[in-house]
Amino acid sequence: MQAYNFAGLSARDLHVWRGERPVLRGLSVDAAAGDCIHVAGPNGSGKTTLLRVLAGLLTPEQGSVHWNGRPISADREAYSAALSYLGHSDGLKPEFTARENLAFEVGLRRRLDAPAIDAALACVALTESRDQPARSLSAGQRRRLAMARVMLTGVPLWILDEPFTNLDHAGVERLSEVIAEHLDAGGAVLIAAHQTPAIPRHAARRLEIG
């Protein structure tokens, strides 16, 4: 388990409008090493919007996001390289097999070898369908695969939008354990979810929006 060292993420006074209406008005977040932040709120309150802003996929009308004290807009590449984002969509290539999906998507970020990939797949219990095209995976299997991608990137900051969707009980527990280990290693995690995630050994700080 590697230890990360980073000053952390801090967003100040974010204002975001979607269409005609304000979704985020003056919201602030801070995430330091070992922090697990649970973004909660009713449907349509702006969880996804917030996470996309923090991931740098959406630029807020007002307010700023800082990473290690520098605004993320200053060096997009560096910031992107430090975070891993899991959205409502799994972001998998339907025609690639589970293995290939990991090999290529993670390969873009870091060097990794077949054993590492298979280990990650085993960790999310996809070993026997690892050579199946993602299209033919079940909803939960796809979610597991997407999660394996996040794990493999080995970056300090995880931004997960409802990661527990479609997962069965075993899957939820597995994922919680993975998150816990990431936190142990000194990573930071932001989770949007409707149920409070039960992360072993760690208490999630709740951020209520909307």
Binding site: L57, L83, S84, G91, K93, L108, R109, R111
Partner: protein, 227 residues
């Protein structure tokens, strides 16, 4: 954990797109078959006389190649956009412009190169004399290169819109007109036995220009489309 070097990332992206294409070998053949079909359309629609066809050969070959290349373009980024992998690529922390080049070159390898390789056969079918064939291939090689570069911009801009393929055509066709004119001209000259250096050099110049400008434009367009 060591980050992937930019060179490796580019190479990986290139391999990824090739693999995606070759996942179904037939899909690589498709632009070629389409090229062949469109070329056949003209004799059917015009006249079977080789004498008459020969005069049209340059135009027909180029228009057909243009359209074949255009059709493939849509798939340069759209699939990645639809299944969310594009977001992941944007967030990969690698210089986007270079990744764009990788994708562009991959696209040319899949859609452009095969066209160049089969063009002699079709040229013969249109009554082009043997000695003109290498000019045909050369002009198409340069032309498809230009198209892939220009097309990449169009593809990136029209990302996520319905009817992508058609919109791309509309954006790219006007830009491609000069290439079309000179390319077809080169073939005609070769058919009538002249040396087609002039048009070919112009084509080469266009290609260089396109290759230098396109990547930056594409990167910008991608970021916009992803928001």
């Amino acid at each position: 954990m060591d980050r992937t070097g930019t060179a490796d990332a580019i190479w990986l992206m290139y391999r990824r797109d090739l693999l995606l294409a070759f996942r179904h070998w037939d899909q690589v053949a498709q632009p070629v078959v389409f090229f062949a079909m469109v070329t056949t359309l003209f004799p059917l629609a015009l006249s079977p006389e080789l004498g008459e066809l020969r005069q049209l050969a340059g135009g027909v070959l180029w228009v057909a190649a243009l359209l074949a290349a255009l059709l493939g373009l849509e798939f340069l980024f759209r699939a990645d956009h639809a299944d969310g992998t594009l977001e992941q690529i944007l967030l990969s922390g690698q210089p986007l412009a270079l990744l764009a080049i990788a994708k562009g070159v991959a696209h040319w390898t899949i859609c452009g190169l095969p066209l160049v390789l089969v063009s002699p056969l079709l040229a013969i079918g249109l009554g082009v004399p043997m000695e003109a064939l290498c000019t045909v291939m050369l002009s198409l090689a340069l032309g498809t290169g230009i198209l892939s570069a220009l097309g990449a911009i169009g593809a990136a801009l029209t990302l996520g819109l319905r009817r992508g393929s058609m919109l791309i055509s509309l954006l790219v066709l006007p830009l491609a007109m000069p290439a079309l004119i000179f390319g077809a001209r080169a073939i005609d000259m070769a058919i009538y036995g002249d040396v087609a250096r002039g048009p070919l050099l112009l084509l080469a110049a266009m290609l260089v220009l396109a290759l230098t400008l396109a990547p930056v434009a594409v990167a910008a367009a991608l970021r916009i489309s992803a928001e």
